[in-house]
Symmetry: C2
């Protein structure tokens, strides 16, 4: 059991929690909590740390809530180290730590991997997004709405920031994403491949977001929380869209705007699918004499 | 100038920041930052506190960004007190305080005030919502999407919590809201008045959220972040709706779900309005001979 705060592993975990450079150098990230541990693919888990309290609980308590039972099972498949409760508290990023964290291998995608998927894919492009909660929520909503991949400008907050990871609710393990040096270049490449790119802007000069057909290959381009998108990103996008606002509201929260756009695309795609099913079932209906 | 942390006003402000009971007792709340001060209706501002630094800046700097110019103008209309910078830091709820906060009168609405508006009003009903950021974002999005009022169960987080206020981005001054002892009773009253209430639930047994017509009087009922709505709130609602999710996503963030519903209603209403305009303009078009 690790009982010293100056233990090398503990020091490294603190580094990995605090600094994106350290995470990048080691090619890993830190996922905290029972849910995240359960959602992490087994072959990508490099190390696991448990508090003494959780370890004792898993070892001796007979009846546990389902997620702890699942935790107990999964811990049979991976190696782990026990950490004194007070030491764990120092490495945890949460106020009330659940007592488990895992060091996980990063999956590195290239822009080509992300764009090389299905024909009518749907993408999010994020330029200079800064708030960890917003990024995590966008990834979580991206998964739920059926987005194929997320492309981030290098100035965006780090996806492996512990706050981002927490607010993805596990989507970090499932939605492919990549950082690019130049978002404008990525927009250009997407346009060349016939992906319609929609820059979300606050000007009412743009068209209302629901005036477009998002059932073919689509990318939504979202900018910084305070300053929106760069002029160039707007100019390079196929179209500019805005989300109508009433009252004296000046803007929507960035993740909210992203979510409304993603779910409008999802809505249109569901409707189209249903329509096609209806047409198909009409055509193949046996004739009644 | 206030220079002592044991000054009575400073102590009271700290109380008001930290405790919803203190705020309730005094019938006020604390709004921090330049933007919030500017958005606060003048006749509702009870007290204003400035840091020495901001005071000096407003007094002596000739060219200031627009919002500081506006701040300077507004400070001519209200009385204020200057506070030593380090004392202000102790009362501020933010990491980098902007140097201004205001004590503001609460506007108290009753359920009757909220329900007594336009015919086709749209409402949000929140049961046991706990996260300050979620509540603030819901109010901000409510204003932007044209919601008439928000009804909160008494177990919800306090709307006057400093974190909530910040994330409303000023909507707290403009969207009417009220806390009710019993959310189920409020749902029942709304139903009686012909308002369709839609309980947002995670079960696919419910109908997809976009299968309903939200252009008549509508209320969306949103539950707790972790546990959703109570059985009773679900049962008392006119219909149950769910937002389809792909991948392995188990749920959406509560404010995201609320935003998607509110903007679906806004979208339907805009479309209906446009259709009616079209019909009207066709009918009144002069005949061409």
């Amino acid at each position: 059991m690790i009982t010293s705060p100056s233990n090398g592993r503990i020091k490294l975990i603190r580094e990995l929690m605090a600094h994106s450079k350290a995470r990048k150098k080691e090619g890993v990230f830190v996922a905290e909590g029972v849910k995240m541990f359960l959602e992490a693919p087994e072959n990508e888990i490099r190390e696991v740390y448990l508090t003494e309290r959780l370890y004792t609980r898993l070892k001796f308590e007979k009846e546990l809530p389902k997620k702890y039972e699942d935790c107990r099972l999964k811990l049979k498949e991976v190696s782990y180290e026990v950490v004194a409760d007070d030491i764990f508290e120092r490495i945890s990023d949460t106020v009330t730590p659940q007592g488990i964290l895992a060091i996980i291998d990063r999956r590195e995608y290239q822009l080509e991997d992300i764009l090389g998927g299905r024909m009518n894919a749907i993408y999010m492009v994020l330029e200079n997004l800064q708030d960890p909660g917003n990024l995590g929520t966008i990834l979580r909503t991206a998964e739920a709405s059926g987005v194929d991949g997320v492309i981030l400008g290098e100035n965006c907050v780090d996806m492996y920031n512990p706050k981002v990871i927490r607010s993805t609710m596990g989507a970090i393990f499932r939605v492919p994403f990549t950082y690019v040096e130049n978002v404008r270049e990525a927009i250009r490449i997407m346009s060349e491949r016939g992906i319609s790119t929609y820059a979300a802007i606050l000007s009412e000069d743009a068209k209302e977001y629901d005036a477009f057909d998002y059932t073919t290959a689509t990318a939504f381009v979202i900018g910084n929380e305070g300053n929106g998108l760069s002029e160039e990103a707007i100019r390079l996008s196929t179209s500019q869209v805005f989300i109508p606002m009433q009252g004296e509201a000046e803007s929507l929260n960035a993740s909210m705007a992203a979510g409304i756009l993603m779910y409008e695309a999802a809505r249109q795609r569901r409707h189209k699918e249903k329509q096609q099913k209806r047409i198909f079932s009409t055509q193949t209906m046996p004739e009644i004499k």
